[in-house]
């Protein structure tokens, strides 16, 4: 058996963090705990990106998922949850269909995992030190410019929509 390298240790540690915290997200009765556990999940995934030397993606993961989505989620949960009185509890409903669908999904993923011909590169320090930002930038501005721009338009529309919804609440209310 091969001696495990440092990277392997880090990989298994991150895998443990991701899987463990995902379990907390799914199974915790306290919705706040679920939300906070997401933090570790996102972090673990960012760690995987780093191990795959996708540094730009890793940092974007942090910026968008931790800084944006998670904070938003926490805001939502905290403002709807009563602080002192009762907690919103998550409970399991419709166990049977859920487990069937989950099993199917898991089977599908495993199938893909085994069928796919993975493109492997030897661990190359040279590659690790190079940023992917330049390549991503070039790709966005040349090959994928249309989807990139369309995505930004979609975001703009979403933002305007959010503003309109937020404004409507302030108007005269139907009681």
């Amino acid at each position: 058996m091969n001696m495990l390298s440092l990277y392997d240790y880090i990989f298994y540690f991150l895998a443990f963090v991701v899987i463990g915290s995902s379990f907390v997200v799914v199974f915790s009765r306290n919705i706040i705990y679920s939300a906070f556990a997401l933090l570790f999940t996102f972090f673990g995934v960012a760690g995987f990106y780093v191990l795959l030397s996708a540094d730009f993606l890793a940092i974007t993961q942090l910026l968008i998922y931790v800084g944006g989505i998670l904070v938003l989620l926490l805001f939502g949960v905290m403002l709807t949850n009563k602080v002192v009185d009762v907690d919103i509890k998550s409970s399991t409903i419709k166990t049977l269909p859920a487990s069937i669908i989950s099993a199917l999904l898991a089977g599908l993923l495993c199938g893909i995992f085994y069928v796919t011909n993975w493109y492997t590169v030897p661990t190359n320090p040279e590659l690790l030190n190079n940023t992917t930002a330049i390549a991503i930038g070039h790709a966005f501005i040349s090959t994928w410019i249309l989807p990139f721009e369309v995505a930004s338009v979609v975001l703009l529309v979403a933002m305007l929509g959010a503003v309109i919804i937020a404004r409507r609440e302030k108007g005269p209310e139907v009681n």
């Binding site: 009563k82 602080v83 409507r168 609440e169 209310e173 139907v174 009681n175």
Partner: protein
Amino acid sequence: METITKTSHGRTLRTEEMVINMGPQHPSTHGVLRLELVVDGEIVIDVIPHIGYLHRCFEKHSEQMTNYQQVIPYVDRMDYVASMNSELSFAIAAEKLLKIQIPERVDYIRVIMCELQRIASHLIAIGTYGIDIGAFTPFLFCFRDRERILDLFEMTCGARLLYNYIWIGGLSHDLPQQFIPTLKEFIVDFRKNIKELNDLLSFNHIFIKRTANIGVLPADVAINYGCSGPMLRGSGVKWDLRKDEPYSVYNKFDFEVCVGKGEVGTLGDCWDRYIVRVDEMEQSLRIIEQAIQTLPEGNVQSAVPKRIRPNPGEAYARAESPRGELGFYIMSDGTGTPYRIKARSPAFVNLSIISEISRGCMIADLCAITGSVDIVLGEVDR
């Protein structure tokens, strides 16, 4: 407190307001005031003030005293940052009951002391108001100047806070020799310091943005609620007992009644109330300067009665304390013990307006409003 709102899509949204207690131990309630807030996020829906945490039965206690003179130390403890003014009010009421004439020198010294006390009290109001808004440094600048006034008081009567200086019919001590020169020095320095304070706080843009158009108190509402002092003058009502119903020797001095003008926002907002206090300090300096120029000679204790036994009857006298109209009602049954004493404390009346002017403001504004009312809980609860 649960409100059910129907959105335009016909779905119901249940929202609930949060009830939160501000005080009795809260940094910005200036003592043991408890404000029960109903808030919707940061917006204050309702404010319910709860008072009485500092109630010491001043009025009932006074009725147990064997001597009118003994009431004065208790009066000191009502408005403990402006004791001189409380003493003056009580002394005037008692003198009215006794029907005695007091020497002119006594009146002049009383005016000097009360105006110094007004400056000291306003310095606290301004300084703590700075803290309410978040600026700490002006507070210590104010306290530095206030210390010098307290030094003057200590030099005169031996106490720094609770003086027992103004007696019925006179004063406990005459002015010490070095009082007038020290006071003159102080006036010169203090004029500079007011300017510095204005640079640092009053005209700071952030400060103006935090206080202008906040807690607007229209003149008619202020009058209806019985507000007085800088609270009323901040709303543009020119009412000052020193001018409109002169007591002591205030009619001999030339000074202006400062009113809010709505310079940076709406008339009657927090900034107006604040700036009225700053301007009043300047006017007090003017009064003091005139008083020390024309200070008559004489004995300050010649009219102090040996035994204070007023004839059966009643008297009410009011004076302008730094917080407003402070009145004392005294009823005598002919013995040395007061039969009934009632104080009309301005801070209590001014506080009653707080829920009226702070509906719909934000929590941060509530601190600004509470600070601009300038309450002293010792006087509110008595």
